[in-house]
């Protein structure tokens, strides 16, 4: 394992220390490093909290700031945070209008959130993201994984909370955006969890993992590496098929790098994916290309498509000022 670290045990704390120091104008660290929160809390709005295993940076701490999250709870690498983190964050950022958690659909995340919710005092709601179409949901009762589409939900609901939507409205909006969002990923290499010390899986020199998750979970199947256009066609095909009806929709296309893929390839994938959407009759009205929901050092990317309506497009465009996402200012 080759990583720029000092010791496996301190990766998370040192990385968080660097993060809050580099972005001290936007964020600050909670007690015992349990959460990252906005430096300047806002009263009277719904408090938006997310969290999850670390190793997906900038998700979630990179999305804390004006127009997006109020706090993020970082778990150990690929391990959901614990209920005490969620409770501590909620206590600190609750602005009197309720707390809304955005949780990616993994049993660990869901159970830890449920324990936190059971212990919480005030009103708490939850949005569960499950945008990954790689795995057929009907067969496996855990449902689908929450992946890069989570970023889209956090952005749009974040803007709504900032604009004064109440807890119920934020929750309903988040569910709606999640349902309008589909993703699929592909890996060219495995990630390496620091504590494990070696790659989670091994791919041959000419193989890719189609439908990979953001923790290096295996996906649909392992297949020979194909040209980018074919990869984009399969992924967009799966997403569009899953949407069912789609023609004429305005969509957001997010090309998300997994951490080890250069921007050059991400933009090339964007070009190929956008041309696929053109063919399917969807209009790419908004776009984002970059490392947003990563999987440590994994090479590969995911494509996310969100169907937009007037309201969600406006909220996507709304001012955001976080470490990793900034516009409209």
């Amino acid at each position: 394992m080759k990583k720029l670290i000092n010791a496996v045990d301190t990766v998370l704390s040192e990385s968080l220390a660097g993060f809050v120091r580099a972005h001290a104008d936007i964020v600050t660290l909670g007690d015992e490093g349990k959460f990252v929160r906005r430096r300047f809390p806002v009263r009277g709005k719904v408090a938006l909290i997310s969290g999850g295993g670390s190793g997906h940076e900038p998700l979630h701490a990179g999305f804390v700031g004006h127009g997006m999250l109020d706090a993020a709870c970082p778990g150990q690498v690929f391990t959901s945070p614990t209920p005490d983190q969620m409770l501590a964050a909620a206590e600190t950022v609750d602005g009197g209008a309720g707390v809304l958690y955005i949780v990616k659909n993994y049993e660990g995340d869901v159970m830890n959130f449920e324990m936190a919710a059971e212990m919480a005092s005030g009103p708490v709601a939850r949005i569960l993201t499950d945008d990954d179409v790689a795995v057929e949901s009907s067969t496996w009762s855990t449902g689908r994984r929450g992946v890069a589409g989570t970023m889209v939900v956090e952005k749009i609901v974040g803007a709504a909370a900032e604009a004064g939507y109440d807890l119920d409205a934020c929750k309903a909006l988040g569910d709606r955006v999640n349902q309008a969002t589909r993703s699929m990923g592909v890996a060219l290499t495995s990630c390496t969890v620091p504590a494990a010390g070696k790659p989670t899986f091994t791919l041959g020199e000419n193989e890719m993992e189609m439908g990979v998750g953001i923790h290096g979970e295996p996906g649909r199947r392992r297949v020979p590496l194909t040209p980018a256009a074919e990869i984009a066609a399969e992924m967009i095909g799966a997403i569009v098929h899953d949407f069912g009806d789609f023609a004429g929709s305005d969509v957001l296309l997010l090309v998300n790098g997994f951490g080890g893929t250069p921007a050059m390839e991400l933009y090339l994938m964007f070009d190929n994916a956008a041309r696929m959407l053109d063919k399917h009759g969807l209009r790419v009205a908004r776009s984002a290309v970059g490392n947003y929901v990563t999987s440590l050092d994994m090479a590969g990317c995911s494509l996310t498509v969100t169907k937009l309506d007037t309201e969600t497009a406006r909220l996507w465009d709304a001012r955001v000022h976080t470490a990793a996402l900034r516009w409209g200012m």
Binding site: G53, Q76, G108, E114, A134, R145, P218
Partner: protein, 199 residues
């Protein structure tokens, strides 16, 4: 009894720490490669409190240990093992006999099922915990329980995962032992070892 509890915590922790790599390996195959470090982090946190735990009644010690697991582990195994330990502690009572232990264990497993919305046959820790609980209730010997635990973990290999991260793999989850089933066996064997040297 307090002395036994302390030895149980010590032995379970030692075994989990020693098996961390094996558990991570299993979790890498059909999960996300963190079960070993999760369990190690949790049990080391429990062990760090041993002095404090030794001063408590067994039920209280187990509840405290369960809470530590919930607060230190995260992931799926944190709430599940945390719930197991907490409920066990709550149900155990002051000076339980074997039947009392069996009842408390059964109640703890029900709590795990409720927390995990899960059942046996779904390729999880329950596929070890449930048969072990049944054996305990039906008066099986420690040796029999040991055999049932290890066979039950082996029986998860051909299973299709319906719960946990491995469920995302569908058919590809077949052919691997469930990491949580394995960690359950390790903890159960540690407990049996302590009880047998005592016996």
């Amino acid at each position: 009894m307090q002395d036994t509890m302390d030895r149980l915590f010590e032995t379970v922790t030692a075994r989990i720490v020693a098996a961390a790599e094996e558990l991570t390996e299993l979790d890498s195959a059909i999960g996300d490669g963190d079960h070993g470090s999760n369990m190690k982090r949790g049990m080391e946190a429990v062990a760090a409190d041993r002095a404090k735990l030794a001063a408590l009644a067994p039920g209280e010690a187990l509840k405290t240990a369960g809470m530590t697991l919930v607060m230190k582990v995260g992931g799926a195994s944190g709430p599940l093992y945390g719930t197991l330990f907490m409920t066990l502690g709550k149900e155990l009572g002051a000076a339980p006999d074997r039947a009392g232990v069996a009842r408390a264990f059964a109640a703890a497993i029900d709590a795990v099922k409720a927390r995990g919305k899960s059942e046996t046959g779904q390729k999880t820790m329950l596929d070890v915990l449930v048969p072990v609980s049944a054996a305990l209730s039906s008066g099986a010997s420690l040796a029999e329980i040991r055999e049932i635990a290890s066979k039950s973990a082996a029986a998860t290999v051909p299973m299709l995962a319906i719960r946990g991260r491995a469920s995302f793999l569908g058919e590809r989850s077949i052919g691997h032992m469930d990491p949580g089933a394995r960690s359950s066996v390790i903890m159960i064997e540690a407990v049996l070892d302590v009880l047998e040297t005592k016996a």
